[in-house]
Symmetry: C2
Subunit: 455 residues, 2 copies
């Protein structure tokens, strides 16, 4: 095991070149016309599994984009770890804000820039290369399975059914996922909580066609004004969500957990500076770490209506649309949140317009116990490679499939993420620091060592 850092140093250029091949494939899962790229990406990761030394790897159909499954068996008496990752990426738009094209990876300032560099192709590659090392050096201490899906950025609509259908194939003692971030390599964190998600489209319709804003303005309800009114009623001016009943089911985190969370030397000023805002704005009475990790949130993700081109068009638009999503915490269910939101919309929408709420996808929040065997193996691997003990962290993000795994496969997941908050995932100029990539490979290899070590 102690040779892993040497192995990484020796092969680092090749690792990077292989990752770049994967990053060049524009596997945007929300693009329904992107089948060629999606299958190309699935085939690429199948090939990488074989290259890394897997016994077998295969592309398997689902109701949506395919899943890549591969495995390396070392002995029936050994524990089995199921590695989960995804080969799909977020849309790259707005394209004009990228300094280099999103699907032409390049290294600048010791970081890999590309859509998917962190989320999740880069992090998934850490696992492929850790496997390669352990197979090459004949030090793999357990069986490994890979489940690589293509719909994570769409909310994994087909994966739950796939897992149910292939429950036996996916049998494992632990699930290992690198699709989250740590605070820094100097003060690493291990994500032990994820928020849930409920994502909606809200459509508002007024007149049956765009109207002249002079000839009709003042007598007809305007769907954009009405949508703005609705959105303004969803949160109060301090950031509390106003949907009646929304906070009622929340399971508060226990005090021990909260104390550990509060140990993180989180720099709120640097956080604000890093995203270029003059002031942070969150729910009063909670630190940023708490606002993001243990409190729910509501954001409009997109809005559209009327004329948005150059110059002035004097219309009263026929319709308007917003995409909005809520991040949920333990105790809150997407379906229940949808019901509460729908009831509230009935209360606040104006009678002069029609509206429709469409649920796009959702998932429950997730918590993994800090004292579990998997998390403690990750703690020791990080101590070994980074020289410092990680703290627990509750991420504001969501990986809806993690909760599904627990339900369907009956196992907890360990979230061994190596991204950084500054990696700009889901945004232009997504990146992944080379050091995180290489240290991640080493840490994954050490994880297997400590996970299988006799106590």
């Amino acid at each position: 095991m102690h040779s892993v850092s040497g192995y990484v140093a020796q092969h680092k250029e090749r690792f990077l070149e292989e990752l770049f091949q994967g990053l060049r494939i524009p596997s945007v899962s929300s693009n329904s016309k992107g089948a060629a790229a999606m299958y190309q990406a699935a085939d690429f990761f199948k090939g990488q599994l074989i290259l890394a030394g897997a016994d077998s790897a295969t592309v398997m159909e689902t109701e949506g984009w395919p899943v890549v499954f591969g495995q390396k068996q070392v002995g029936d008496d050994r524990p089995t770890v199921l590695v989960y990752g995804h080969y799909d990426v977020q849309p790259p738009e707005p394209l004009d804000e990228w300094k280099s094209p999103p699907f032409e990876p390049e290294v600048r300032e010791h970081k890999i820039f590309a859509r998917g560099a962190d989320d999740d192709k880069g992090q998934l590659f850490m696992h492929l290369k850790a496997l390669e090392y352990m197979v090459a050096e004949k030090c793999l201490p357990c069986n490994i399975k890979f489940l690589i899906e293509g719909e994570e950025e769409m909310g994994s609509p087909s994966l739950k059914a796939f897992c149910k259908q292939h429950q036996e194939l996916l049998l494992a003692d632990l699930i290992l996922v690198s699709d989250t971030a740590l605070y820094s390599l100097k003060q690493p964190t291990l994500t032990t909580g994820l928020r849930g998600l409920a994502y909606f489209e809200l459509h508002v319709w007024g007149p049956q066609r765009d109207l002249h804003s002079g000839l009709y303005g003042g007598a007809v309800a305007n769907p954009v004004n009405e949508l703005a009114h609705i959105l303004s009623q969803l949160k109060d001016r301090e950031g509390r969500i106003r949907i009646p009943g929304f906070y009622e089911c929340i399971q508060e985190p226990d005090l021990d957990e909260l104390q550990q969370l509060r140990q993180l030397p989180f720099d709120e000023a640097a956080f604000a500076k890093g995203i270029g805002v003059p002031a942070l704005a969150g729910e009063p009475g909670y630190s940023v770490v708490e606002q993001l990790g243990i409190r729910p949130s509501l954001d409009v993700n997109g809005i559209w209506g009327g004329y948005t081109g150059e110059g002035a068009k004097t219309i009263l638009p026929a319709r308007a649309m917003a995409k909005l999503s809520l991040r949920l915490v333990p105790g809150q269910e997407p379906v229940q949140v949808e019901e509460l939101l729908r009831s509230y919309l009935h209360q606040i929408a104006a009678p002069g317009v029609a509206w429709e709420l469409k649920a796009l996808h959702g998932g429950n929040a997730y918590v993994v116990p800090w004292q579990g065997k998997g998390v403690q193996a990750a703690v020791r691997a990080m101590e070994q490679v980074l020289g410092v003990s990680p703290l627990p962290y509750h991420s504001g993000g969501s990986i809806p499939v993690i909760a599904d795994f627990e339900e369907v496969l009956g196992q907890k997941a360990v979230l061994l993420g190596f991204g950084l908050e500054s990696d700009a995932i889901h945004a232009p100029n997504e990146n992944f620091p080379l050091e995180n990539f290489y240290k991640g490979i080493e840490t994954v290899a050490w994880f297997y060592h400590y996970y299988t070590l006799k106590q």
Copy 2:
């Protein structure tokens, strides 16, 4: 003069074919790349002026799109009427809602369908064909000048300077404009009031890049949510505008005028049905005719922010934008409204976001006295051709240049519009009924007759 209806009947097919040539030119003035079409349209109307019998016609440069000027002189002792119209049109978007392409005119159900069919190429053509008739029949009783601009749909930014520069060329005793609507051919109206306009773009900026809505949501002000809040604060739930001081300068219409306005048998139920809304929504205490004609209004014309494509993208957007406009009534000035709005925005915008208000264009409201010589000539022409006396009407629309004319050229304008509310101007499937087109030609010719008749 009595031969005009016969002349129109004899030449109606050719009139239509000539109008179609003009409608095929996509002269969208807000398209800064549309120079070819704009100059083609200007040349076309110059040619039509010569064809109709003008002594001269010329395309004249301005700071923006060119103006077409033409004239027909019958005697220095005769009064001169300046006909104003515009060859530019609104953008045709959304294109997929047109039943026939916007720049491929066709007649269906006795209506001409095309962008500009009513506003304003069709109505301008009535004047060209009335001129043709009067020149052909040698019955033109006054001098006529044509001023045809190409920036009306942008708020005529260059026309005021052009009028100042060419004040002598444009000297006239009256300005005649057909760029408005009447209630119906059975109960015609003459527009004696227009609302003013103040059109803005409001930009809101949050973080310097799109953020992941999970990793940041709950701690950072969202520019779309903040824009929605701002927009929601501009009007109360009953439709009153909340900008402090906004109503203070309004000059109330006099009671005589109001009584005449109230005589119009306006069918509010049919109005709502015609635009497909379940209920009208306007300022309490006013009829629809009053809401549209003598009360100001505020509408969002367009809104954009974040991800608006297919599916779910979980971002907290970096920015958002709305186009919004206010229709003004006598006493309100666009510049003063901008100041009031700007002060109010300082009050209501959140500290976590930056904003910018850009004034795109504006113009004052306009009122022309019912008892004036010009309006009374129009009343008699309508009685002659349509067989019924028109009522006064205050249109909700704006023709900012009309107020400019009064200021620069020192003359009132008569608004002899032949459009219908159902013509869908500024919207998909704009149309102009053939009967309105042909009756309009006759009425314009009779207008000159009554305007020059010795009392």
